[in-house]
C-alpha cells in the first residue's frame, strides 16, 4: 500500500523535491538529499579511491581544517569561510576515513551555526522566567550555588551530565574539575545513551576500551556483519565504502541482523530479522553452529583466550530450531549466516543501538567479539570489530573521564591507577572518588529525582527529549530543589527547564580534537567567531574552576591551562603508557593531512591501524580498565577476585543465557515499539532541524507499521495514530510498510522546540530501565497499543509525511531495492 502511494509521489515530485533549495551562488558536487550515498567508486584491496564532495553557498575566501561532528564516522572536512561566516564544507581527500566524501548531514549541518535563534547571552531564571544576564552574574550565581551545596552536603550534592559533542580538551578539563576539584563521582555523558555498551563490551572482552580494528578493514573483508546497526542510514560514509566494495571485484557477503527492513538490510546476502529483544538467542545460535561445525581456530583459542568451555556450554542449547522458536529467525537462514561467518578468512563486524539499547545489551555485544575470537579473526587487516559509537566525540568522553570512566582508561578499582592520576594532577588520591563505580547517568537522574543531588550541570545535550520516559524527566528537571545549569548553543526543551542557561560556541567556532570509532583523532580548527557572547565550553569550564578557586595540593590552580592546545598537551601526559596513548601527536602533526589513529607514540609515530596484533590483550590485572562485572546482574568483581583469575593478556570469552525483555506485549499493550534514527537528522535535531534541506527531507515524526497491523486497526497511510504505553501517549501520522507485523517504529529525533502542537517525542513511551553492566537504557523495546486518531486530511503532518516517504522511497530505488 505504502510502496504504491510513494511510487506515484516520486514520479510526480523529483525535480521539485530536490532542486527547490538551489540558490544562485550555490555549488555542490552532488545532491546528498536526493541520493544519500552518491556515485560509486568500485574497488577491492587497495586504498579507497578519492571522491571529493563539496557544498558551498558562496565561494569561500579560505578553508579551515576540521572534521565532521554529525555522526561517529569522523570524516575529515574543510570548512569554507567567507567574510567571517561559514559558507560551506568539502571533504578532505587526504583523510583515510572518508577520502573526500561527506554524507548529507555533513554537507548541510553547518548551516545551523548561523541560525538566527542561536543563544547569544546567558540567562538566569528570575520570578519563574528566564531573563538575559551578564556572564559575571550567571557564573557568580553558579559558583554561589555550588559553594552553598558543598558546604551543606559536600560535593556529592553536585552532578554533571555532558555529551558526545564537545571536544577532547573540554571533556578532560571538565573531568578534572569534577573528579579532582570538586571530588564528585556524579559525572556522566549522554554517551550513556549511545555508546556505554560499546565501551562495556570492549572492557569485558579485551580488558579495556579501544576498538581493535580500522575502517581500512572494509577494503578487503570477505564478510561484513551488521548487528542492530543500520549502517546505510547512521554512518552514510562507511556505507559508501561498503557500496563501493559491493560494486568492485570480490564483493563481500553481507550479514544484517535487524528486525526492520532497512536500507542496509536491503543489500544483505543474509538478513536475519529477530523479534525485538532476542539478540542473545540469535548470537548464541550463530556461535553454537560455528563451534559444532568445528569452524574454530583451536590454536588461537588456546593461546589467546580464557573461558571457551563455559562459552561452549552456554551456547550449546541454542540449536537452530530453538533459536527460530524464540527469535523468529528461520533455522536455515541462521545456518547460512553461521556458515558464512565460520568459513570466511576475514570479517568485519559492526554493532550499534539495536544491540546497545536492547535487552542484554552488553552480553549481546560481547557475543560479537566472541565470534571473532573463536575464529582468530582479529588484529590483522580485513578483521575489524567496530563496537560503534553514536556520537562524534563519544570516544573522547570515555577516554578523558568526563563520563563514568577514569581518564586514560584507568581502573577505578585499581589504587595504583588512582595514584597515577593524583600525581599527574597534584592532588591527594583520596580527593578522586573511587569508592564505588562512578555514578551513571540514569542513577544521576534518579538522585536528582529523590533530592540527593541538588545541582545538575548539563552541557551540550537535551535530556528532556533524549532520555527515556520524558514525563518523568521533565518533572525531575523542573523540581524546585534542583538547580539546573544548561550549557548549549540553542534553546532546547531542556534549557526551558534550566535555572541558568549558558550560551556555548560550537564546532567551527572553537578548536579541539575528536576521536572516531576507529581511534582516528582529528583536529577541528576554529574557523569563525561564535555569535554574540557565546563562549567555548572549554573557556566556560576553566572560568568556573577559577571562580571556584579550585587548587592543587600546593595551592596552584588545578587547571593549569587556558588554551585547547595546552589542554591537549596535558592530556597527552595523562595517556602515556595507557592503551589510548596520544603522546606522539601534536596539534601541528594533526594539522598536516589525515587524522591519526591512537596509540601514537615513540613506538608508533604514525599511529596504529590495529590493536592486539600479537594476540595480547589489555586484561592484565595491573593494566586493565575494569575488574569486570557479572554480565547478568552487573555486580562488580573485586580486585582480589580478579587477581585470582588474572588472564595476563588473554581475552575473555564470556556469555550468558537468554532473559526475555522486562516488558512484553500483552492484551492491554499488544504491540512492540522500537525507536531509532533517520538519515537526515542527528539527536534531537538542535542542528539538523535548523538546516533547511535536512529538515525539509524529514520534517516530522511518524509511526511506521506493517500493512497487516494497519489493516487490523483500520489505519491508512497518513492517518493520525494515537500510540500509548504505560508511560505516555504520542500522536503520529502513519507510514505503512517495510516493517514486521507486531512491531512499530518511531524516530526519536522529534521533540517540541519547533512544534508543540501535539505530543510526539518517542521517548514519552519508552521505559526507565537499563543494562546491568553498561547502564545503557533500553530504548529499543516497549509494549504499546495503537488506534486511529484521525483520518488523513491531506494537510499538516500528512503533507510532510508524503514528502518524507518520497525521499525514503527514492533512496531505496537508488540502492536498487
Amino acid at each position: 500500500m505504502f510502496r504504491y502511494t510513494v511510487y506515484r509521489l516520486v514520479v510526480a515530485l523529483p525535480n521539485k523535491l530536490f532542486q527547490q533549495y538551489q540558490s544562485i551562488n550555490m555549488k555542490q558536487t552532488r545532491d546528498s538529499i536526493a541520493d544519500i550515498w552518491g556515485e560509486r567508486t568500485p574497488y577491492y584491496n587497495e586504498q579507497w579511491p578519492e571522491r571529493l564532495d563539496e557544498r558551498v553557498t558562496e565561494e569561500p575566501d579560505h578553508w579551515v581544517q576540521a572534521a565532521c561532528v554529525l555522526c561517529s564516522t569522523g570524516c575529515g572536512m574543510d570548512i569554507g569561510v567567507k567574510d567571517g561566516k561559514i559558507v560551506g564544507v568539502r571533504g578532505r581527500g587526504v583523510d583515510a576515513v572518508n577520502r573526500g566524501r561527506l554524507g548529507p548531514k555533513g554537507l548541510h549541518g553547518w548551516i545551523a551555526n548561523h541560525s538566527p535563534d542561536r543563544l547569544t547571552k546567558p540567562m538566569i531564571r528570575r520570578g519563574g522566567q528566564l531573563q538575559e544576564a551578564s556572564w559575571d552574574e550567571a557564573m557568580d550565581l553558579i559558583v554561589q550555588k555550588s559553594k552553598e551545596i558543598i558546604d551543606k552536603h559536600t560535593s556529592l550534592g553536585i552532578g554533571f551530565y555532558t555529551s558526545g559533542q564537545l571536544f577532547l580538551e573540554e571533556y578532560y578539563t571538565l573531568g578534572i574539575i569534577g573528579k579532582a576539584g570538586l571530588g564528585t563521582p556524579h559525572m556522566d555523558g549522554n554517551t550513556r545513551l549511545c555508546t556505554a555498551t560499546s565501551a562495556a563490551a570492549l572492557k569485558v572482552t579485551f580488558g579495556s576500551d579501544g576498538q581493535p580494528g580500522s575502517y581500512t578493514d572494509l577494503d578487503s573483508a570477505e564478510v561484513i556483519m551488521h548487528v542492530g546497526h543500520n549502517t546505510a542510514s547512521q554512518h552514510t560514509v562507511l556505507w559508501m565504502r561498503i557500496l563501493d566494495r559491493l560494486e568492485g571485484p570480490n564483493p563481500p557477503k553481507l550479514i544484517v541482523i535487524d528486525p526492520r527492513e532497512t536500507y542496509t538490510a536491503k543489500k544483505a546476502t543474509v538478513h536475519l530479522a529477530p523479534r525485538v529483544g532476542t539478540n542473545i538467542p540469535v548470537l548464541n545460535g550463530l556461535l553454537n553452529i560455528i563451534i559444532k561445525e568445528g569452524l574454530i581456530d583451536h590454536n588461537y583459542i588456546n593461546a589467546h583466550t580464557v573461558g571457551f568451555e563455559e562459552l561452549k556450554a552456554i551456547v550449546s542449547k541454542w540449536n537452530p530450531r530453538l533459536v527460530e522458536e524464540v527469535s523468529g529467525v528461520p533455522a536455515h537462514k541462521l545456518r547460512e549466516a553461521a556458515l558464512l561467518l565460520g568459513s570466511t578468512k576475514t570479517l568485519v563486524s559492526t554493532a550499534l543501538q539495536g544491540v546497545y539499547q536492547s535487552m542484554q545489551a552488553t552480553a549481546s555485544a560481547v557475543q560479537v567479539n566472541n565470534i571473532h575470537l573463536i575464529r582468530g579473526l582479529i588484529g590483522k587487516p580485513g578483521c575489524g570489530i567496530y563496537q560503534m559509537n553514536g556520537q562524534p566525540t563519544a570516544q573522547n568522553t570515555r577516554e578523558t573521564g568526563a563520563d563514568g570512566d577514569l581518564p586514560g582508561f584507568r581502573n577505578w578499582g585499581n589504587k595504583e591507577h588512582i595514584n597515577e592520576l593524583a600525581k599527574l594532577w597534584n592532588v591527594e588520591p583520596d580527593t578522586i572518588p573511587h569508592w564505588a563505580p562512578p555514578t551513571h547517568a540514569m542513577q544521576i537522574m534518579r538522585f536528582c529525582e529523590t533530592g540527593a543531588i541538588k545541582m545538575l550541570w548539563i552541557s551540550a545535550t537535551n535530556p528532556a527529549v533524549s532520555m527515556p520516559n520524558l514525563g518523568r524527566m521533565r518533572k525531575l528537571l523542573a523540581k524546585e530543589d534542583l538547580f539546573v545549569v544548561v550549557q548549549d548553543a540553542f534553546k532546547t526543551e531542556t534549557t526551558q527547564l534550566a535555572d541558568v542557561v549558558l550560551p556555548a560556541a560550537i564546532w567551527g567556532e572553537k578548536t579541539g580534537c575528536t576521536t572516531n570509532v576507529d581511534r582516528t583523532v582529528h583536529i577541528c580548527h576554529k574557523a569563525i567567531e561564535p555569535p554574540g557572547e557565546a563562549r567555548a565550553d572549554l573557556d566556560i569550564f576553566i572560568d568556573y574552576a577559577r571562580r571556584m578557586d579550585l587548587k592543587d595540593k600546593d595551592g596552584n590552580p588545578l587547571i593549569k591551562w587556558n588554551t585547547p592546545e595546552e589542554a591537549f598537551e596535558a592530556w597527552k601526559e595523562c595517556t602515556r603508557g595507557r592503551p589510548c596513548d596520544y603522546t606522539g601527536m601534536s596539534y601541528a602533526k594533526l594539522s598536516e593531512g589525515s587524522g591519526i589513529q591512537w596509540p601514537c607514540n615513540e613506538k608508533y609515530p604514525n599511529g596504529t591501524p590495529h590493536l592486539y596484533t600479537d594476540g595480547v590483550f589489555a586484561t592484565a590485572a595491573d593494566y586493565c580498565e575494569s575488574y569486570g562485572h557479572d554480565l547478568e546482574t552487573g555486580a562488580a568483581q573485586t580486585p582480589d577476585e580478579y587477581k585470582l583469575i588474572d588472564p595476563k593478556g588473554k581475552a575473555f570469552l564470556k556469555s550468558v543465557d537468554y532473559q526475555p525483555p522486562h516488558e512484553e506485549p500483552d492484551e492491554e499493550y499488544p504491540l512492540w515499539l522500537t525507536t531509532g534514527r533517520l538519515v537526515y537528522h542527528f539527536h534531537t535535531r538542535t542542528k539538523t532541524g535548523r538546516a533547511k534541506e535536512l529538515q525539509n527531507a524529514a520534517p516530522d515524526s511518524y509511526v511506521q507499521l506493517s500493512a497487516e497491523d494497519a489493516a487490523k486497526y483500520d489505519i491508512e497511510d497518513g492517518d493520525m495514530v494515537e500510540i500509548s504505553s504505560r508511560r505516555g501517549t504520542v500522536f503520529q501520522p502513519a507510514m505503512v510498510g517495510l516493517i514486521e507485523p507486531g512491531l512499530i517504529f518511531i524516530p526519536f529525533h522529534y521533540g517540541y522546540w519547533d512544534n508543540d502542537n501535539r505530543s510526539r517525542a518517542a521517548n514519552e513511551l519508552t521505559l526507565t530501565e537499563w543494562d546491568p553492566v553498561s547502564k545503557q537504557p533500553h530504548f529499543k523495546y516497549a509494549a504499546v497499543r495503537i488506534r486511529k486518531a484521525a483520518d488523513n486530511t491531506n494537510d499538516g503532518p500528512s503533507a510532510a509525511l508524503a514528502h518524507m516517504e518520497a525521499v525514503i522511497d527514492h533512496n531505496f530505488k537508488m540502492e536498487g531495492a
Binding site: 557479572d630 546482574t633 546491568p772
Partner: protein
C-alpha cells in the same frame, strides 16, 4: 545424622530469600535496577529451592531436634526512600550470607560423605549465592555514601 537439619535451614532461608527479594523489588520499584535485579535474584533463589528439594527429601530433618532458627527482625521498615533501601539491601545481604555459610557447611558434609553428586550441586548453588551477594555489595556500596551524606 543432622545433615537434614542444615538442609532445612538452607531451605527455609531460601524460601525467605524468594519472598524478600520480591518484596524489596516491589517496595523499591522506583529504583529501576533494584526492581529488575531483585526479581531476577528471587528467581535464582527459587531455582535453589528446586535443586534443594530432592536433598531435603533424602535427608529429612530429625524431628526430635529443636527448631534451628535465628530469630531476628528483618525487613520491618515500612519506610521508602534511600535510607530504607540501604537498610533493606543490608538485611538481604545478611539473609543471603547466611545461605552462603549453609552451603559451606553442607559442602564439608558432602566431602565427609564422599558424595560427588551432593558436592557438585552445592558448589553450583554456592556460586549462584555468591553472585547474589556480589550484586548486593555492589549496590550497597553505590548507595551508601549518597544516602549517609546527602540522604533525604
Amino acid at each position: 545424622m543432622l545433615i537434614g537439619n542444615y538442609l532445612q535451614l538452607a531451605f527455609d532461608a531460601e524460601k525467605e530469600a524468594v519472598k524478600a527479594f520480591n518484596m524489596i523489588a516491589g517496595k523499591h520499584g522506583d529504583e529501576p535496577d533494584v526492581y529488575q535485579t531483585c526479581q531476577l535474584l528471587a528467581s535464582w533463589s527459587q531455582n535453589h529451592l528446586n535443586e534443594l528439594k530432592p536433598w531435603v527429601e533424602k535427608y529429612p530433618a530429625r524431628p526430635d531436634t529443636t527448631a534451628d532458627k535465628l530469630e531476628r527482625m528483618m525487613f520491618d521498615n515500612e519506610q521508602k526512600g534511600s535510607f530504607a533501601l540501604l537498610r533493606d539491601l543490608h538485611d538481604l545481604w545478611i539473609l543471603v550470607t547466611e545461605i552462603d555459610i549453609c552451603w559451606t557447611v553442607l559442602l564439608q558434609a558432602a566431602d565427609g560423605l564422599r558424595d560427588k553428586e551432593m558436592k557438585t550441586t552445592f558448589v553450583k548453588l554456592q556460586e549462584s549465592t555468591k553472585r547474589q551477594i556480589a550484586w548486593l555489595q555492589t549496590r550497597i556500596k553505590q548507595s551508601a555514601p549518597q544516602t549517609l551524606i546527602v540522604g533525604v
